[in-house]
Amino acid sequence: MSLRRFVAIRVASTIPILFGVSVFTFALVHLTPGDPIDQLVALNPQISAAEEAAIRARYGLDGPVWQQYLTWMSNLLRGDFGTVIAVDQPVGPYIMARLPETVALGLFGWAIALLIAIPTGIYAAVNKDTLGDDLSRVFALSGISLPNFWLGLMLILVFALWLDLWPVLAPDKPLLSPAMLWYLILPGVTIGTASSATLMRVMRSSMAEELNKEYVTAARAKGLPERTVVLKHVLRNSLISVTTIAAFLTAGIFAGAVVVEQVFAWPGLGRAFVQAIIGREVDLIMAITLFTGVTIILANLLADIVYAVLDPRIRYD
């Protein structure tokens, strides 16, 4: 019961944050010169000034910024996210069509990150200050320093061009087709390795810290095998701090998706976002931004819940 109330309060408290984000983003978009109609006109010089004004009015782009914001907001509250002007399509379905691709990429990247980070982190902590620990440190450092786009390009170079194991660009197929899922590996690994580096360092330091605690000596003194001591007693305690970082990673993964989808021509929201920015598609930018915000907030909420499951001392009441 108390957990339900906690969740309700948390969700409610995000509303001002989302509001702030929407105002800020809206202002930013309008501070940059140009709008979709400018591009339309540039491409079609035969459009007259009167026609241009009419089109602007149709999309509500003619009033002052605050008025545009209010219109946008009242539409939003009615569940209308606006229009993608370039293709004259409502924003909602436009996002929904690309969402599964990004979710698949994000989840896969996340899974890779956890799969690399947790075992390596454990290994590095248990074998602290040995060669293996140093190697993991080198890996983490390179993971943090290598930009996503570079790693993505290198993977394409090696695995697509040289080894010919993958196509160079994402095949134009439905997400759940074998060709598409196979292709998902490359961008997924790119996103995953970058995130795993941070996660691994946290895992290592948190576990190293836990390993020094007395309950570990006590568990050993009970005669439990080292595997049980580490994987049962220490791991669960160490995961408590890792959970928080893993939730933060959601933001990093979305940011990574923007670049990685571009590099791999992956047909998801990240690529749509870049195109929206180039085309000054206000409604689309706003929708994707808010959507990302909500996702990150939900991820943190999930982390808080996992946190309570892992640590019985934490009760949200």
Binding site: R220, K222, G223, L224
Partner: protein, 377 residues
């Protein structure tokens, strides 16, 4: 054959400041069912000794030499998995601070039951049943319900009881209790010691009780080893130690009142502090604090000898390590033992030997500790 035989144990720690000898040439015996006390200030090497018996000294420490035989078998040359079969099963440990010794994220019951499942091959239900019985034995009310509580839902005294239950879970032959009551308040301390004493008899378990508190030793133990700066300085039965201490350090310990529950620093009457183990004083390491120290004490390291004969003593004989007993001093050890515990009740009342010479004076020196003690009775 004694249950546990430790011979010439030396443990070094490799720190940034240099090699620290935490335990040096330590020998002692513990018989089956015996209650053996190890006393000394913190840093004297008591806890390191305890961890050595389970072969659990931390990574920076190393058992340099010596032998530890448990039931005649050399623990130090055993394989890791053979040692694991001994840990928690035949030799169990009660940690000083139950709160940190319990894993916060598992239930108290599970932490006891897992040991039982592991060593005794019990199924889940049987292990649970045995655990509930143990919790009951150590005096936890409603053990059935408390089984599923997490450590933070237990009070300090209950946590300590749970840790004792954990140590007793597989019916060990030797229980190492490292300051088992230091973290507790006075009344609970007395109860827990009493319970420990009874359970040891019931389970026929030998106890190695490690403490800085001579009052606790008096309450529980048969024989005592006094440690200073990593070395044994005196070994005696509790009675001998209390009424006829032979080492100046023990005398210092004694003059701070041996009564249970007194939180005063017992060593305030000995000027100075224990030496930094990186730079142990030459000769007798106690000489900077010893009121009888002479020039010889700074040069010659005293061995544990029979105080009556000055001959080297065996590992279970009464002995003290002071040059006075080997004839290397010009003066004599001139002190009077003041047994202030005489009328102090619980601490000495049970194991009372005949009235010692020169006993029962000087209570006034420590009125605070005294009245505090009375209030608890």
């Amino acid at each position: 054959m004694a249950l546990l035989e430790v011979d010439d144990l030396t443990v070094n720690y490799y720190t940034e400041e240099g090699v620290v000898t935490a335990v040096e040439d330590l020998s002692f015996r513990i018989d089956r069912g015996e209650k053996f006390g190890v006393v000394g200030e913190s840093g004297a090497g008591k806890s390191v000794t305890a961890l050595s018996l389970l072969r659990l000294v931390e990574r920076s420490g190393r058992i340099e030499s010596g032998e530890i035989r448990f039931k005649g078998e050399d623990l130090l040359s055993m394989s890791e998995s053979a040692v694991r079969d001994v840990r928690g099963n035949e030799i169990a440990m009660i940690f000083q601070d139950a709160q940190t010794a319990l894993n916060p994220v598992y239930t108290v019951g599970e932490q006891i039951a897992e040991t039982i499942r592991h060593h005794l091959d019990y199924g889940d239900a049987a292990a649970r049943e045995r655990t509930v019985r143990l919790l009951d034995d150590v005096g936890i009310p409603e053990p059935e319900a408390r089984y599923d509580d997490y450590p933070h839902e237990f009070s300090g005294g209950m946590q300590q009881r749970a840790v004792i239950a954990m140590a007793l879970s597989c019916d060990p032959d030797l229980l190492i209790a490292d300051e088992p009551t230091t973290a507790l308040d006075v009344t609970i301390e007395a109860k827990i010691l009493d319970r420990l004493d009874r359970l040891a008899a019931e389970y026929d378990t030998a106890i190695q009780l490690i403490t800085h508190d001579l009052g606790v030793i008096a309450e529980v133990c048969d024989r005592v080893l006094v440690m200073y700066a990593g070395r044994a300085v005196e070994r005696a039965s509790v009675e001998e130690l209390y009424y006829d201490p032979k080492h100046p350090y023990t005398v210092g310990l004694m003059s701070a009142i041996p009564r249970i529950g007194d939180r005063q620093d017992r060593l305030q009457t000995i000027p100075g502090t224990m030496p930094d183990l990186v730079e142990v004083p030459s000769g007798c390491s106690f000489h900077p604090r010893c009121p009888f120290a002479e020039e010889a004490c700074t040069r010659t390291r005293p061995q544990l000898v029979d105080p009556a004969t000055g001959e080297r003593a065996g590992p279970d004989e009464r002995s003290a390590a002071c040059l006075a007993y080997t004839g290397d001093l010009d003066g004599e050890l001139d002190y009077e033992v003041e047994v202030r515990g005489r009328d102090a009740g619980a601490a000495t009342a049970e194991s009372e030997p005949p009235e010692p010479d020169g006993g029962g004076v000087d209570r006034g020196a420590d009125p605070d500790a005294d009245s505090e003690g009375k209030a608890d009775e």
